[in-house]
């Protein structure tokens, strides 16, 4: 039988241990994640790109989150960029596109190597959440993690409406490529 005082002490000790453990769980962040957008139709190929995506990875839980500000995507035609923001993505209302999920299978983050992985989670674009399982590649070198993934986003699934008049120019399924480097958070 332990006294109340001892109980409190033990609780405090274990809480402390908990925080200490959490501290040791490696967190990595990336601030210059590259996001490429590609729409292809027989009439027109449209490309846009941003290198202002951000990402967080917690190695212990294998949680991964990536977000990109819609307005950071650059098109070569500025009028097209304006239409992208105003008419399609409504970026004033929905400024971010985001993915949050868990990486599978379990990886030994301390070992260098390349891993084909998939991330199961939720993709939020244009304010519409879609459960997704996104395939990608993770490579680890000296504790630095490289992320590389290509996937597709269907406009209809995220309630992005394309009028019939410009149907021929904009693909119904947009290709996305997300790549970048994550370094340990200090």
């Amino acid at each position: 039988m332990i006294s109340i005082k001892n109980k409190k002490l033990a609780l405090a000790a274990i809480c402390f241990l908990g925080f200490a453990l959490q501290g040791s769980a490696q967190t990595l962040i990336g601030k210059t994640i590259k996001v490429n957008l590609f729409s292809s139709t027989p009439v027109e190929d449209i490309k846009a790109s941003s290198n202002m995506g951000t990402a967080v990875l917690v190695t212990q839980t294998q949680e991964l989150a990536v977000q990109v500000s819609i307005k950071s995507l650059v098109f070569d035609k500025k009028l097209m960029q304006e239409h992208f923001n105003e008419n399609y993505m409504e970026s004033d209302k929905y400024p971010l596109a985001k993915f949050k999920g868990t990486i599978e299978p379990k990886i030994d983050w301390t070992k260098d190597g390349e891993y084909a992985v998939s991330a199961k989670g939720v993709l939020s674009v244009h304010g519409v959440d879609q459960p997704r399982n996104i395939n990608g590649k993770i490579s680890i070198k000296n504790g630095i993690v490289n992320l590389d993934s290509s996937f597709e986003v269907t406009c209809v699934a995220h309630q992005i409406k394309i009028p019939r008049l410009v149907f021929a120019k904009i693909a119904e399924v947009i290709q996305l490529k997300v790549s970048g480097t994550l370094t340990p958070l200090k």
């Binding site: 609780l11 274990i14 490309k47 839980t61 950071s72 070569d76 500025k78 009028l79 304006e82 410009v166």
Partner: protein, 315 residues
């Protein structure tokens, strides 16, 4: 037994704390790295550099060339309208063809030619302030300077006795604000400097104040209107000819790089240098007319973009 229980509880507590902490950490870290607030400029207060009759605060995008064709038909009703002119459609009181070119994101130059007076116009338009959505700048401010040259032959021998009599200048600071994604409003004081007027009582310099607005009905369809207050400001009201304040309303339809506007207005003429001082038709007396604008935007110098990640191709 008790001790075991305690350890189980404490272990569970530890797991919960650790799990919560990591979930919170992802969200809070993500939030601190959210850079979308950097993009705080308010874009597209109006869809186009022109509203119905007047200029808007918008300028052309850099290296974009806009071909603009405008048409004002004849009076719908009254003495000159009705079925005999198919409600004005037989008549073209003014035609205009012009180009607007974005030298930079903020500076646009434009040239145009109107049927009325064979007027050639040249304008320079510079964006000074752009509205910010974080409270830093509540308005857009754009400066416009437009010069008009009347190229037609004189109607009387003493008209245009000096070549400079053919010139007129229109100077206008334009102030606008996008109140919401649907509603934008604009106010624009202006000075029109004319070289000669038909009436000795009509001052050569006219001070005017314009008002304009947009209500977006759908993403691609807007109701637009502008009104220019001319009478009652610097203009005498005992003129031999009756002049009216120009009012235009229209529907603006945008599809990709095209803008179509279907307009109704009482002003016969298209360019400020002509319509501000010379609108002789009234909305009340059948003087309203139909007009349209067709605008097509071309992006120039695309081959200068060497970045493969943003290079678009039209087949």
């Amino acid at each position: 037994m008790n001790r075991h229980k305690l350890f189980i509880y404490l272990f569970l507590l530890l797991v919960i704390i650790a799990m919560q902490a990591s979930a919170q950490q992802v969200d809070s870290l993500l939030k601190t790295m959210d850079n979308s607030a950097k993009f705080n400029t308010v874009e597209s207060t109006f869809k186009s550099p022109h509203i119905v009759l007047s200029h808007s605060t918008e300028t052309q995008k850099k290296h974009d060339l806009d071909l603009r064709i405008r048409h004002h038909f004849g009076d719908i009703g009254g003495k000159f309208g009705g079925a005999h002119t198919l409600y004005g459609l037989d008549v073209a009181t003014d035609l205009f063809i012009g180009f607007d070119y974005g030298v930079t994101e903020k500076l646009t130059i434009g040239i145009g030619r109107s049927k009325h007076d064979e007027l050639y116009d040249l304008y320079v338009k510079q964006k000074i302030f752009q509205q910010k959505n974080d409270g830093g700048m509540p308005i857009n401010l754009t400066l416009l300077a437009q010069v008009g040259l009347i190229a037609r032959k004189p109607f009387a021998t003493d008209e245009f006795s000096n070549y400079s009599d053919r010139l007129s200048y229109f100077i206008q600071p334009i102030i606008s604000r996008k109140f919401s994604s649907r509603i934008s409003a604009q106010v624009m004081p202006a000075l029109l400097i004319r070289s000669a007027t038909g009436d000795v009582n009509d001052p050569e310099n006219l001070f005017t104040v314009g008002f304009a607005g947009r209500i977006k009905l759908t993403k691609r369809l807007s109701f637009v209107a502008d009104y220019t207050l001319v009478n009652g400001l610097s203009r005498a009201d005992n003129l031999a000819t009756k002049y009216y304040n120009p009012l235009g309303v229209g529907l603006e339809i945008e599809t990709g790089g095209h803008i179509f506007s279907l307009n109704f207005m009482n002003s016969e003429y298209i360019i400020e240098n002509s319509f501000v001082g010379n609108t002789q038709k009234s909305w009340n007396k059948g003087g309203v007319r139909f007009g349209f604008t067709i605008s097509r935007n071309f992006s120039l110098f695309k081959s200068k973009n060497k970045n493969q990640d943003t290079k678009s191709t039209i087949y």
